[in-house]
Amino acid sequence: MAASADDAILAELCERVRAAAQLRSPLRLRGSGSKDFYGEALAGAVLELAAWRGIVDYEPSELVVTARSGTPLAELEGALAERDQFLAFEPPAFGPATTLGGVIAAGLSGPRRMYAGAARDFVLGTRLLTGSGERLRFGGQVMKNVAGFDLSRLLCGSLGILGIITEVSLKVLPRPRAEATLRLELSAPAAVAAFNQWAAQPLPLSAAAWWQAQAWVRLSGAEPAVRTAREQLGGELVEASCAHEWWEALRHCRHRLFSQPDIWRLSVPATAPPLALPGEPLIDWGGAVRWYAASLDATAVRASAAAAGGTALCWRGSAPQGRFHPLAPSVAELHRRLKVRFDPAGIFNPGRLLPGV
């Protein structure tokens, strides 16, 4: 893409933001729209960001990739795969056109999260377009950087309420040399106990999930380590394409549980005992995520999650009191104060993360 065309795209974005700020007219930031279902209600005039795309810098030996926020996730992952690297947080995509900006703004991570880290753990730097139309840069393209507050990680998961993420630098990793998935017949409590016991040992775990009396465990790493772990854990070796399909379905929420209209996602400590909620969950993240496909009473499900030391998110379905788990008043107040400083006119995705913010 020619530099002048690039400049025009960014200049237009800045112009739209300034005009909206002047009129205090809300903007709804949109990459591909694949996460429109996620979070609180959408509001404002759509501001399309997908045109601001492209990989800016990728040097495999630096383990860093920098791309504009409109870059399709598939394009980015394709470029990494060519060099045998990948995004180790396995971001979920809810549509073929999912963009990098949406991935980082939502801050969601896939099955590898408990073993490799979350989206925010891989964010090294960001560029931000603020509510006053200013372009800021935080972090950078290096692994270690403690100059100034870590605003790049703050933006990860911010759902666009602080500004438009225009560029992201991410740490990437080499693809594991070997991978194997094992399936074991286990009850939910036995699976959760086993996941935790295994995680306390030097085993190359990269995912652990449970569904309907079966535990699925993925091992990734050096070939000898994967082989030794397979022998130690036992169970049945799952054929590679079937294993791939299972983990991809889990990662992108395409598992058949997600065909239900009402979905709750409970984020709890991995050791949490079975929750007193109706139905059997789909368990991911080695026990730290419990998905329930049922229309549950929000108060009861939140209380249940809180009692286990976690929180409950209404992933899909009706939640009159809001989708996200309520924040402590002192924490919510900090959200308001940060919002007003980064977006004084209150134009970016109002209410998307927190009602009124």
């Binding site: 040097e59 030996s61 999260r113 998110l313 309520p326 924040l327 940060l338």
Partner: protein, 484 residues
């Protein structure tokens, strides 16, 4: 407000022995690990409990008195340099490990607990806390949270931000904040990530929940010699490019090996322009395979000689030189100044050459130790504070290295923090609007600016003054003139 009035107010809420007012009691707190900056605090508070911390905060807030928190005082950027009109809050007495849950692999600790104590306590379960700053025997976890501390194993195991699950703390207004979670995520903005590395400007942390990971059963260290720094730098890129993530990947130049070898006898090749230390850890089978691969890559990159640790004792001996690099600097020079720039790895050779040229220009020696895997360079500038102008030259030498790092796409601090030391360099790395964003975050947490004022974020006036002093590429018009 005078010290007597503050002391009276604090003694109303703290036990007598928690407030130090006499000069000889306050003197030990006048500086942290950056000894070039010294200030005597008005008084020192040494709380034992979270409630006492809250009372100190409430008191300072009510009286409008600045408050600086301090862990073990090992920080290298002056983050814990006291404020002359303020209270220094030491977390040293809050040093209990509250609980360790081996199944959940977490430890909950008070901020004054030394980093290494966590790993020692978790060792019984085959677990440890991964970030290992050089000062880990002494440095506190609260200080690690404030600085987002690293260590030599960050490339594989991450920094503090990757290994802390949750913190509890209080704002200057005494409001309690619980950030993060033992679960995989928490709703709302990631204020935990914002707090980690915030250098005590946003809140005072009173409890930290850290992640523990299984201790790898086996570790071996490969030591390689190179005839020039460029090929050593290329070898670093080649190891990573081969898809290997070593547990540690360190470089030392000849000045550094020559400084440490006489007193630790690590067995370093003093004929080499640079050596690499490459550690592999994991299961024994995994390590055998990876070490063979590392050796192969290093040979292909022109390593003159290679040695692989044959025993745990030998591995630790190879490490001993690297871990003693800073004390060694203290042996060969009256004073030393350790820098902390980070840059894309591909520019390592170029920066080391530039540093060589700066040594001549500033008439000061500099040895280089380098977390090469992370691109985090620690040039150690050797100077003599008793020699007039020597510190000023060292300071400018350091700033020039950092500005070169920024120019090459890196940063002025990889793991030591900004503190008071790198305020000028912040003016170079960040635009006025970016610095205003940092100030806005500060204001959201601490509207009156009482927590660790004067650190991390330079004022506009300071940056304007510094801008007038610098000219292109950090070259001053008259480098011989003292600028203080």
């Amino acid at each position: 407000m005078d010290g007597v009035a503050i002391a009276t107010a604090l003694r109303a809420v703290l036990p007598e022995d928690c407030v130090l007012t006499r000069e000889e009691e306050r003197r030990p707190y006048e500086c942290d690990g950056l000894t070039a900056f010294r200030r005597l605090p008005q008084l020192v508070a040494l709380p034992r409990t979270e409630e006492q911390v809250r009372q100190v905060l409430l008191t300072c807030n009510r009286l409008g008195v600045p408050l600086v928190a301090r862990g073990s005082g090992t920080g290298l950027s002056g983050g814990a340099t006291p404020h002359e009109q303020g209270v220094l809050l030491s977390c040293a007495r809050m040093n209990r490990i509250l609980d360790i849950d081996p199944l959940a692999r977490v430890a909950r600790v008070e901020p004054g607990v030394a980093n290494l104590r966590i790993s020692d306590a978790a060792a019984a379960y085959g677990l440890y806390y991964a970030p290992d700053p050089s000062s880990q025997v002494a440095c506190s976890i609260g200080g690690n949270v404030a600085e987002n501390s690293g260590g030599v194993h960050c490339l594989k195991y991450g920094l503090t931000v990757h290994n802390v699950l949750a913190v509890r703390g209080y704002t200057i207004a005494g409001e309690r904040l619980e950030l993060g979670s033992r679960a995989g995520d928490a709703p709302g903005l990631d204020l935990l990530a914002l707090t980690i590395g915030s250098e005590g400007l946003l809140m005072i942390v009173t409890e930290v929940t850290v992640k523990l990971i299984p201790r790898p059963p086996c570790a071996r260290l490969v030591m390689a010699s190179f005839a020039d720094v460029h090929s050593a730098g290329d070898a670093v890129a080649a190891v990573i490019g081969a898809g290997i993530i070593p547990a540690a990947l360190e470089m030392m130049d000849r000045k550094a090996t020559a400084a440490v070898e006489p007193f630790v006898h690590a067995g370093y090749d003093l004929s080499a322009a640079a050596i690499l230390l490459v550690e592999s850890d994991g299961t024994p089978e995994e390590v055998v395979e990876q070490v063979a691969e590392i050796e192969c890559v290093l040979k292909a990159c022109g390593a003159m000689s290679l040695r692989v640790s044959g025993s745990e004792a030998e591995r630790l001996r190879f490490w001993s030189g690297r871990k003693n690099a800073f004390p060694a600097a203290g042996r060969i020079s009256p004073d030393y100044y350790c820098m902390d720039g980070t840059l894309p790895r591909r520019h390592v050779g170029r920066v080391l050459e530039a540093i060589g040229e700066m040594e001549t220009r500033y008439a000061l020696g500099c040895m280089n130790v380098f977390h090469a895997g992370d691109g985090n360079l620690h040039p150690v500038i050797l100077f003599d504070a008793n020699e007039p102008g020597s510190w000023e030259r060292a300071d400018r030498f350091g700033a020039e290295i950092l500005e070169l790092c920024v120019e090459l796409g890196g940063t002025i601090t990889g793991e030591h923090g900004v503190g008071v030391e790198k305020l000028n360099s912040m003016c170079v790395q960040f635009s006025p609007a970016e610095r205003a964003a940092f100030a806005a975050v500060k204001e959201a947490f601490d509207p009156a600016g009482l927590l660790n004022p004067g650190k991390l974020i330079p004022t506009l006036a300071r940056c304007a003054e510094y801008g007038r002093m610098r000219v292109h590429h950090g070259q001053l018009a008259h480098p011989e003139l003292p600028r203080f």
